[in-house]
Protein backbone atom coordinates (compact mmCIF):
# COMPACT_ATOMS: atom_id res chain seq x y z
CA UNK A 1 0.00 0.00 0.00
CA UNK A 2 1.49 3.39 -0.98
CA UNK A 3 1.80 5.92 1.82
CA UNK A 4 0.17 8.80 -0.05
CA UNK A 5 -2.27 9.07 -2.94
CA UNK A 6 -2.18 11.35 -5.97
CA UNK A 7 -5.23 13.59 -6.43
CA UNK A 8 -6.22 11.62 -9.56
CA UNK A 9 -6.21 8.40 -7.55
CA UNK A 10 -8.59 9.89 -5.01
CA UNK A 11 -10.95 11.14 -7.73
CA UNK A 12 -10.96 7.74 -9.45
CA UNK A 13 -11.49 5.94 -6.17
CA UNK A 14 -14.47 8.15 -5.31
CA UNK A 15 -15.97 7.57 -8.75
CA UNK A 16 -15.56 3.81 -8.44
CA UNK A 17 -17.17 3.88 -5.01
CA UNK A 18 -20.09 5.78 -6.48
CA UNK A 19 -20.43 3.43 -9.45
CA UNK A 20 -20.24 0.33 -7.24
CA UNK A 21 -22.85 1.73 -4.87
CA UNK A 22 -25.22 2.23 -7.85
CA UNK A 23 -24.70 -1.39 -8.85
CA UNK A 24 -25.57 -2.61 -5.35
CA UNK A 25 -28.62 -0.33 -5.14
CA UNK A 26 -29.92 -1.53 -8.55
CA UNK A 27 -29.47 -5.11 -7.35
CA UNK A 28 -31.41 -4.37 -4.16
CA UNK A 29 -34.22 -2.89 -6.26
CA UNK A 30 -34.29 -6.11 -8.24
CA UNK A 31 -33.47 -4.31 -11.48
CA UNK A 32 -30.36 -6.37 -12.25
CA UNK A 33 -29.65 -10.07 -11.81
CA UNK A 34 -27.14 -11.65 -9.47
CA UNK A 35 -24.92 -12.38 -12.49
CA UNK A 36 -24.80 -8.71 -13.44
CA UNK A 37 -24.05 -7.76 -9.82
CA UNK A 38 -21.09 -10.13 -9.65
CA UNK A 39 -19.83 -9.03 -13.07
CA UNK A 40 -19.85 -5.35 -12.18
CA UNK A 41 -18.37 -5.88 -8.72
CA UNK A 42 -15.48 -7.77 -10.32
CA UNK A 43 -15.00 -4.94 -12.84
CA UNK A 44 -14.99 -2.26 -10.15
CA UNK A 45 -12.81 -4.28 -7.77
CA UNK A 46 -10.32 -4.66 -10.61
CA UNK A 47 -10.49 -0.92 -11.25
CA UNK A 48 -9.91 -0.19 -7.55
CA UNK A 49 -6.85 -2.41 -7.48
CA UNK A 50 -5.52 -0.70 -10.62
CA UNK A 51 -5.99 2.71 -9.02
CA UNK A 52 -4.37 1.82 -5.72
CA UNK A 53 -1.50 -0.23 -7.19
CA UNK A 54 -0.73 1.35 -10.57
CA UNK A 55 2.71 -0.34 -10.56
CA UNK A 56 1.10 -3.77 -10.60
CA UNK A 57 -0.67 -2.96 -13.90
CA UNK A 58 2.75 -2.22 -15.40
CA UNK A 59 3.96 -5.65 -14.32
CA UNK A 60 0.86 -7.24 -15.84
CA UNK A 61 1.38 -5.23 -19.02
CA UNK A 62 5.00 -6.42 -19.32
CA UNK A 63 3.83 -9.98 -18.79
CA UNK A 64 1.46 -9.62 -21.75
CA UNK A 65 4.01 -7.82 -23.90
CA UNK A 66 2.35 -4.39 -23.71
CA UNK A 67 4.51 -1.36 -22.94
CA UNK A 68 2.76 0.49 -20.13
CA UNK A 69 0.27 -0.25 -17.39
CA UNK A 70 -2.01 2.57 -18.52
CA UNK A 71 -2.17 1.05 -22.00
CA UNK A 72 -3.45 -2.31 -20.82
CA UNK A 73 -6.24 -0.57 -18.94
CA UNK A 74 -7.28 1.30 -22.06
CA UNK A 75 -7.21 -1.89 -24.14
CA UNK A 76 -9.30 -3.78 -21.62
CA UNK A 77 -11.76 -0.90 -21.28
CA UNK A 78 -12.18 -0.65 -25.04
CA UNK A 79 -12.80 -4.37 -25.41
CA UNK A 80 -15.34 -4.27 -22.60
CA UNK A 81 -17.08 -1.22 -24.08
CA UNK A 82 -17.35 -2.83 -27.51
CA UNK A 83 -18.79 -5.95 -25.98
CA UNK A 84 -21.33 -4.00 -23.93
CA UNK A 85 -22.46 -1.94 -26.93
CA UNK A 86 -22.90 -5.18 -28.84
CA UNK A 87 -24.98 -6.68 -26.02
CA UNK A 88 -27.12 -3.57 -25.96
CA UNK A 89 -27.78 -3.82 -29.68
CA UNK A 90 -28.86 -7.42 -29.31
CA UNK A 91 -31.18 -6.43 -26.47
CA UNK A 92 -32.67 -3.61 -28.53
CA UNK A 93 -33.30 -6.04 -31.39
CA UNK A 94 -35.12 -8.33 -28.97
CA UNK A 95 -37.24 -5.41 -27.79
CA UNK A 96 -38.05 -4.47 -31.39
CA UNK A 97 -39.27 -8.01 -32.03
CA UNK A 98 -41.45 -7.92 -28.93
CA UNK A 99 -42.97 -4.61 -29.98
CA UNK A 100 -43.74 -6.14 -33.38
CA UNK A 101 -45.41 -9.12 -31.74
CA UNK A 102 -47.56 -6.77 -29.69
CA UNK A 103 -48.53 -4.69 -32.73
CA UNK A 104 -49.30 -7.91 -34.66
CA UNK A 105 -51.61 -9.15 -31.92
CA UNK A 106 -53.45 -5.80 -31.85
CA UNK A 107 -53.72 -5.83 -35.65
CA UNK A 108 -55.18 -9.34 -35.78
CA UNK A 109 -57.66 -8.58 -33.01
CA UNK A 110 -58.74 -5.42 -34.85
CA UNK A 111 -59.32 -7.53 -37.96
CA UNK A 112 -61.34 -10.07 -35.99
CA UNK A 113 -63.57 -7.34 -34.54
CA UNK A 114 -64.04 -5.81 -37.98
CA UNK A 115 -65.09 -9.11 -39.53
CA UNK A 116 -67.57 -9.74 -36.72
CA UNK A 117 -69.14 -6.34 -37.28
CA UNK A 118 -69.72 -7.05 -40.96
Amino acid sequence: MPTFFLPIQIIFALFILFAASRVILRFKDGEIHLGALIFWLIVWTGATLAVIFPDKTSQLAKLLGIGRGADIIIYLSLALLFYLVFRQNVLIENLETKISQLIREITLQDAKKDSQKK
Binding site: V90, E93, T97, S100, R104, T107, L108, D110, A111
Partner: protein, 228 residues
Protein backbone atom coordinates in the same frame (compact mmCIF):
# COMPACT_ATOMS: atom_id res chain seq x y z
CA UNK B 1 -61.62 -26.19 -52.59
CA UNK B 2 -58.16 -25.11 -51.43
CA UNK B 3 -57.63 -21.59 -50.14
CA UNK B 4 -54.95 -19.08 -51.06
CA UNK B 5 -53.91 -15.93 -49.21
CA UNK B 6 -52.08 -13.36 -51.31
CA UNK B 7 -50.20 -11.17 -48.87
CA UNK B 8 -49.02 -7.68 -49.87
CA UNK B 9 -46.96 -5.83 -47.27
CA UNK B 10 -47.41 -2.11 -47.96
CA UNK B 11 -45.92 1.03 -46.49
CA UNK B 12 -47.04 4.31 -48.06
CA UNK B 13 -47.91 2.84 -51.45
CA UNK B 14 -51.15 4.72 -52.18
CA UNK B 15 -49.87 5.88 -55.58
CA UNK B 16 -49.67 2.36 -56.94
CA UNK B 17 -51.45 -0.12 -54.67
CA UNK B 18 -54.83 0.25 -56.43
CA UNK B 19 -53.30 -0.64 -59.76
CA UNK B 20 -51.39 -3.58 -58.28
CA UNK B 21 -54.52 -5.02 -56.64
CA UNK B 22 -56.74 -4.69 -59.71
CA UNK B 23 -54.07 -6.32 -61.92
CA UNK B 24 -53.61 -9.06 -59.35
CA UNK B 25 -57.35 -9.75 -59.24
CA UNK B 26 -57.47 -10.01 -63.01
CA UNK B 27 -54.49 -12.37 -63.14
CA UNK B 28 -55.72 -14.84 -60.52
CA UNK B 29 -59.42 -14.69 -61.46
CA UNK B 30 -59.38 -17.99 -63.32
CA UNK B 31 -57.49 -19.99 -60.70
CA UNK B 32 -59.71 -22.74 -59.28
CA UNK B 33 -59.01 -21.85 -55.69
CA UNK B 34 -60.62 -19.69 -53.01
CA UNK B 35 -58.47 -16.62 -52.79
CA UNK B 36 -58.18 -13.63 -50.54
CA UNK B 37 -56.00 -10.60 -51.12
CA UNK B 38 -54.56 -9.33 -47.86
CA UNK B 39 -52.79 -5.99 -47.63
CA UNK B 40 -50.71 -5.58 -44.50
CA UNK B 41 -50.70 -1.83 -44.10
CA UNK B 42 -47.56 -1.20 -42.07
CA UNK B 43 -48.47 2.03 -40.33
CA UNK B 44 -48.69 4.06 -43.55
CA UNK B 45 -49.23 7.78 -43.15
CA UNK B 46 -50.94 8.06 -46.56
CA UNK B 47 -54.14 6.55 -47.97
CA UNK B 48 -52.81 3.03 -48.58
CA UNK B 49 -55.43 1.39 -46.34
CA UNK B 50 -58.39 3.29 -47.80
CA UNK B 51 -57.45 2.59 -51.39
CA UNK B 52 -56.66 -1.08 -50.78
CA UNK B 53 -60.04 -1.52 -49.13
CA UNK B 54 -61.76 0.25 -52.00
CA UNK B 55 -60.19 -2.21 -54.41
CA UNK B 56 -61.55 -5.10 -52.39
CA UNK B 57 -58.55 -6.26 -50.37
CA UNK B 58 -58.72 -7.24 -46.73
CA UNK B 59 -56.58 -4.68 -44.91
CA UNK B 60 -54.63 -5.52 -41.77
CA UNK B 61 -53.25 -2.33 -40.27
CA UNK B 62 -50.21 -2.05 -38.02
CA UNK B 63 -50.88 0.99 -35.86
CA UNK B 64 -47.21 1.95 -36.06
CA UNK B 65 -44.59 1.15 -38.71
CA UNK B 66 -42.74 -2.06 -37.86
CA UNK B 67 -40.86 -2.90 -41.05
CA UNK B 68 -41.10 -5.46 -43.85
CA UNK B 69 -40.31 -8.53 -41.75
CA UNK B 70 -42.94 -7.70 -39.16
CA UNK B 71 -45.55 -7.04 -41.86
CA UNK B 72 -44.86 -10.37 -43.59
CA UNK B 73 -45.15 -12.26 -40.33
CA UNK B 74 -48.50 -10.57 -39.63
CA UNK B 75 -49.79 -11.76 -43.01
CA UNK B 76 -48.52 -15.30 -42.43
CA UNK B 77 -49.99 -15.30 -38.92
CA UNK B 78 -53.36 -14.30 -40.34
CA UNK B 79 -53.15 -17.13 -42.87
CA UNK B 80 -52.28 -19.55 -40.07
CA UNK B 81 -55.18 -18.55 -37.83
CA UNK B 82 -57.65 -18.66 -40.70
CA UNK B 83 -56.45 -22.03 -41.98
CA UNK B 84 -55.30 -21.07 -45.44
CA UNK B 85 -53.77 -23.90 -47.50
CA UNK B 86 -51.36 -21.67 -49.39
CA UNK B 87 -49.94 -18.20 -49.00
CA UNK B 88 -48.08 -16.05 -51.50
CA UNK B 89 -46.24 -12.86 -50.60
CA UNK B 90 -45.96 -10.23 -53.23
CA UNK B 91 -44.40 -6.75 -53.40
CA UNK B 92 -46.95 -3.98 -53.47
CA UNK B 93 -44.77 -1.55 -55.42
CA UNK B 94 -45.67 -3.07 -58.80
CA UNK B 95 -42.35 -4.74 -59.61
CA UNK B 96 -43.78 -8.26 -59.64
CA UNK B 97 -46.01 -9.77 -62.29
CA UNK B 98 -49.02 -11.41 -60.69
CA UNK B 99 -49.27 -13.93 -63.54
CA UNK B 100 -46.23 -15.62 -61.99
CA UNK B 101 -48.38 -16.70 -59.03
CA UNK B 102 -49.47 -19.65 -61.16
CA UNK B 103 -45.89 -20.93 -61.38
CA UNK B 104 -45.44 -20.64 -57.65
CA UNK B 105 -48.72 -22.46 -56.99
CA UNK B 106 -47.69 -25.27 -59.35
CA UNK B 107 -44.52 -25.82 -57.35
CA UNK B 108 -46.48 -25.79 -54.08
CA UNK B 109 -48.96 -28.30 -55.48
CA UNK B 110 -46.02 -30.56 -56.31
CA UNK B 111 -45.22 -30.72 -52.61
CA UNK B 112 -42.69 -27.96 -52.03
CA UNK B 113 -43.12 -25.95 -48.82
CA UNK B 114 -41.40 -22.72 -49.83
CA UNK B 115 -41.12 -21.44 -53.38
CA UNK B 116 -39.11 -18.29 -53.99
CA UNK B 117 -39.59 -16.38 -57.23
CA UNK B 118 -36.17 -15.70 -58.71
CA UNK B 119 -35.37 -12.70 -60.92
CA UNK B 120 -32.17 -14.38 -62.09
CA UNK B 121 -33.77 -17.55 -63.42
CA UNK B 122 -35.66 -15.52 -66.01
CA UNK B 123 -33.14 -14.49 -68.65
CA UNK B 124 -35.34 -11.67 -70.02
CA UNK B 125 -35.07 -9.60 -66.88
CA UNK B 126 -32.94 -6.48 -67.06
CA UNK B 127 -31.47 -5.93 -63.65
CA UNK B 128 -29.42 -2.76 -63.04
CA UNK B 129 -25.72 -3.56 -62.67
CA UNK B 130 -25.14 -2.24 -59.14
CA UNK B 131 -28.23 -4.03 -57.93
CA UNK B 132 -27.00 -7.22 -59.52
CA UNK B 133 -23.71 -7.02 -57.61
CA UNK B 134 -25.52 -6.36 -54.32
CA UNK B 135 -27.94 -9.22 -54.88
CA UNK B 136 -25.14 -11.67 -55.71
CA UNK B 137 -23.34 -10.59 -52.57
CA UNK B 138 -26.55 -11.10 -50.58
CA UNK B 139 -26.81 -14.63 -51.98
CA UNK B 140 -23.28 -15.29 -50.77
CA UNK B 141 -24.05 -13.92 -47.29
CA UNK B 142 -27.19 -16.05 -47.16
CA UNK B 143 -25.06 -19.08 -47.97
CA UNK B 144 -22.51 -18.17 -45.28
CA UNK B 145 -25.19 -17.79 -42.61
CA UNK B 146 -27.64 -20.51 -43.58
CA UNK B 147 -25.81 -22.86 -45.94
CA UNK B 148 -28.37 -22.65 -48.74
CA UNK B 149 -27.34 -21.58 -52.25
CA UNK B 150 -30.01 -19.47 -53.90
CA UNK B 151 -30.14 -17.51 -57.10
CA UNK B 152 -32.17 -14.67 -55.60
CA UNK B 153 -32.19 -14.71 -51.82
CA UNK B 154 -33.70 -11.23 -51.44
CA UNK B 155 -36.75 -11.76 -53.62
CA UNK B 156 -40.05 -10.66 -52.11
CA UNK B 157 -42.10 -13.10 -54.20
CA UNK B 158 -42.63 -16.24 -52.14
CA UNK B 159 -45.09 -19.08 -51.87
CA UNK B 160 -45.81 -21.13 -48.75
CA UNK B 161 -47.49 -24.47 -48.14
CA UNK B 162 -49.74 -25.09 -45.15
CA UNK B 163 -46.79 -26.70 -43.37
CA UNK B 164 -44.65 -23.60 -43.96
CA UNK B 165 -47.47 -21.30 -42.84
CA UNK B 166 -47.68 -23.24 -39.61
CA UNK B 167 -43.96 -23.41 -38.91
CA UNK B 168 -42.53 -20.09 -40.02
CA UNK B 169 -41.91 -17.62 -37.25
CA UNK B 170 -39.93 -14.54 -38.23
CA UNK B 171 -38.20 -12.54 -35.53
CA UNK B 172 -36.38 -9.90 -37.58
CA UNK B 173 -38.28 -6.74 -38.37
CA UNK B 174 -36.87 -5.19 -41.52
CA UNK B 175 -35.16 -6.11 -44.79
CA UNK B 176 -33.00 -8.78 -43.13
CA UNK B 177 -36.16 -10.90 -43.11
CA UNK B 178 -35.40 -12.11 -46.65
CA UNK B 179 -32.44 -14.05 -45.31
CA UNK B 180 -34.29 -15.18 -42.24
CA UNK B 181 -36.65 -17.26 -44.36
CA UNK B 182 -33.72 -19.54 -45.13
CA UNK B 183 -33.01 -19.96 -41.43
CA UNK B 184 -36.60 -21.16 -41.11
CA UNK B 185 -36.20 -23.50 -44.09
CA UNK B 186 -33.23 -25.12 -42.34
CA UNK B 187 -34.77 -25.17 -38.88
CA UNK B 188 -38.04 -26.82 -39.90
CA UNK B 189 -36.60 -28.91 -42.77
CA UNK B 190 -38.95 -27.31 -45.29
CA UNK B 191 -38.76 -28.33 -48.94
CA UNK B 192 -37.44 -25.35 -50.85
CA UNK B 193 -37.32 -24.52 -54.55
CA UNK B 194 -37.18 -21.53 -56.86
CA UNK B 195 -39.36 -20.45 -59.76
CA UNK B 196 -38.42 -17.99 -62.53
CA UNK B 197 -40.32 -14.70 -62.32
CA UNK B 198 -40.53 -11.54 -64.33
CA UNK B 199 -39.45 -8.27 -62.78
CA UNK B 200 -40.31 -4.71 -63.75
CA UNK B 201 -37.92 -2.16 -62.40
CA UNK B 202 -39.41 1.28 -62.48
CA UNK B 203 -38.11 4.49 -60.99
CA UNK B 204 -40.79 4.09 -58.36
CA UNK B 205 -39.89 0.54 -57.34
CA UNK B 206 -36.15 1.28 -57.35
CA UNK B 207 -36.63 4.16 -54.98
CA UNK B 208 -38.31 1.76 -52.58
CA UNK B 209 -37.33 -1.67 -51.36
CA UNK B 210 -33.77 -2.71 -50.65
CA UNK B 211 -31.46 0.26 -50.90
CA UNK B 212 -27.98 -0.69 -52.00
CA UNK B 213 -26.27 0.95 -49.05
CA UNK B 214 -28.52 -0.92 -46.67
CA UNK B 215 -26.78 -4.24 -47.19
CA UNK B 216 -24.21 -3.68 -44.49
CA UNK B 217 -26.93 -2.90 -41.97
CA UNK B 218 -28.78 -6.06 -42.95
CA UNK B 219 -25.66 -8.13 -42.29
CA UNK B 220 -25.21 -6.60 -38.85
CA UNK B 221 -28.80 -7.40 -37.92
CA UNK B 222 -28.26 -11.01 -38.94
CA UNK B 223 -25.24 -11.18 -36.66
CA UNK B 224 -27.28 -9.79 -33.77
CA UNK B 225 -29.86 -12.46 -34.40
CA UNK B 226 -27.21 -15.15 -33.93
CA UNK B 227 -26.53 -13.86 -30.43
CA UNK B 228 -30.08 -13.64 -29.19
Amino acid sequence: MKTLAVILPAYNEDKIIGKVISQLKKDIKDLKINKQIIVVNDGSSDNTAKIAEKYGALVLTHRINRGLGAALQTGIEYARRNNFDYAVTFDSDGQHDSQDIVKVLHALAKGFDIVVGSRFLNKDNKIPFTRKIILKFANFVTFLFFGIWTSDSQSGFRGFSRKAIEKINLSTNNMEVSSEFYAEVKKHKLKFTEAPIKIRYTKYSLSKGQQNLNSFNVMLKLIYKLFR
